[in-house]
Amino acid sequence: MLTWLARLGRAGLSFFERLGRGHLFLMQVLAGVPGLLLRPRLVIQQIYSVGVLSLVIIVVSGLFVGMVLGLQGYNTLADFGAAESLGVMVALSLVRELGPVVTALLFGGRAGSALTAEIGLMKATEQLSGMEMMAVDPLRRVIAPRFVAGVIAMPLLAAIFSAVGVIGGYFVGVGLLGVDDGAFWSQMQARVDWNKDVINGVIKSLAFGLVATWIAVYEGYDATPTAEGVSRATTRTVVHTALAVLGLDFVLTALMFGE
């Protein structure tokens, strides 16, 4: 009984310790961000590996998600004789929810896990402590550019996802199922609001980008410097990113659309 209590206490303490360390880590990384203005190349390199290389999976998933939305939405809306509203349905669900959320989940799996593994391996092979020996702060040289790159890339990826998804919905709805072309776009334009829907979606994706990248770089930096430790950290990145994004999505949605 006592050992059980002790274990519970230790687990609780280590949870709060990790939480606190994570926030202190974020502060340190943010302090290193202004210095990157002098060395933009570091960020550009990371945008390439985080953003450009994620492009294929984002475009393909976006296309298919949009096409599925078109099919499913058409079947349901046709029952109410409102098949012309397909454009509104596809665009609103993509811009408000699916764009930011699915992009963040894919981003966590594709880019976040790579970031964690890379930083964790740097730590395991003592490259990070090597940098410290040479008086180079790894937080500024390694972590901060990756963090900034993730925060920049995520909203762009989410916007691409939504746009491609709308096009996918258009292909299925108008091309395959015969919804009227004009009604598809005009109803969409009448109901989708720039400030309320699109901008809120961008804000969401920015918040998700921040959280997903933060988790990824923190897990890598905080990993136990062994092969097993890095693999565990990578798993934790994917799981924690998914949980954090979905939880945060509820809070943001309640704030934005709860009225």
């Binding site: 450009v52 890339a153 691409i160 746009a163 334009q189 989708v192």
Partner: protein, 156 residues
């Protein structure tokens, strides 16, 4: 050097693609290009009941959209709803026009339809449209039909 320029070009293309997607969302998907923040003059109209009318609902004349609803308030002097419409510059409407609240389709969104009158003077900023016809509330219509049916039954 060769490789680093390709990398920069790729990143540049990526950012451009992202911004293009955002631009498409702005112009093609949302209504930023249409009647957002457009200039116009405001006129007021009182309704007994606005039903499901919302801010940003369209204002039409003869089926053509000429403006939007910008504010809906409760006027505690007249105990009626005060609706402020913003109508595009260049659309001149006779000052005795009638405003009614219609529903697009059976269960569609509600909008304000203006019927032009025959006066020589035109509506301008701050004017009040004298006649506002309320929204049809489904429950009231059903109630009225039932009531008249009941009255018929008594007469026989």
């Amino acid at each position: 050097m060769k490789q680093s320029t390709t990398l920069e070009i790729m990143v540049g293309l990526f950012v451009a693609l992202g911004l293009a997607a955002l631009f498409m969302l702005a112009m093609k998907v949302s209504n930023i290009s249409a009647l957002n923040n457009e200039d116009g003059y405001e006129v007021k109209v009182h309704f007994v009941n606005v039903g499901g009318l919302k801010v940003r609902s369209p204002v039409t004349v003869a089926g053509v959209r000429v403006g939007r609803v910008v504010r809906i308030e409760f006027d505690d002097k007249l105990l009626e709803a005060l609706v402020v419409l913003k109508i595009k510059h260049g659309v001149r409407l006779p000052s005795d026009s009638i405003a009614s609240i219609f529903t697009a389709g059976l269960l569609g969104e509600q909008y304000v339809g203006l019927e032009p009158g025959g006066a020589d003077t035109y509506l301008k900023e701050g004017d009040v449209i004298a006649l506002g016809q309320s929204a049809l509330i489904l429950e009231q219509i059903i109630g009225r039909v039932l009531f008249s049916k009941a009255a018929e039954g008594k007469g026989q």
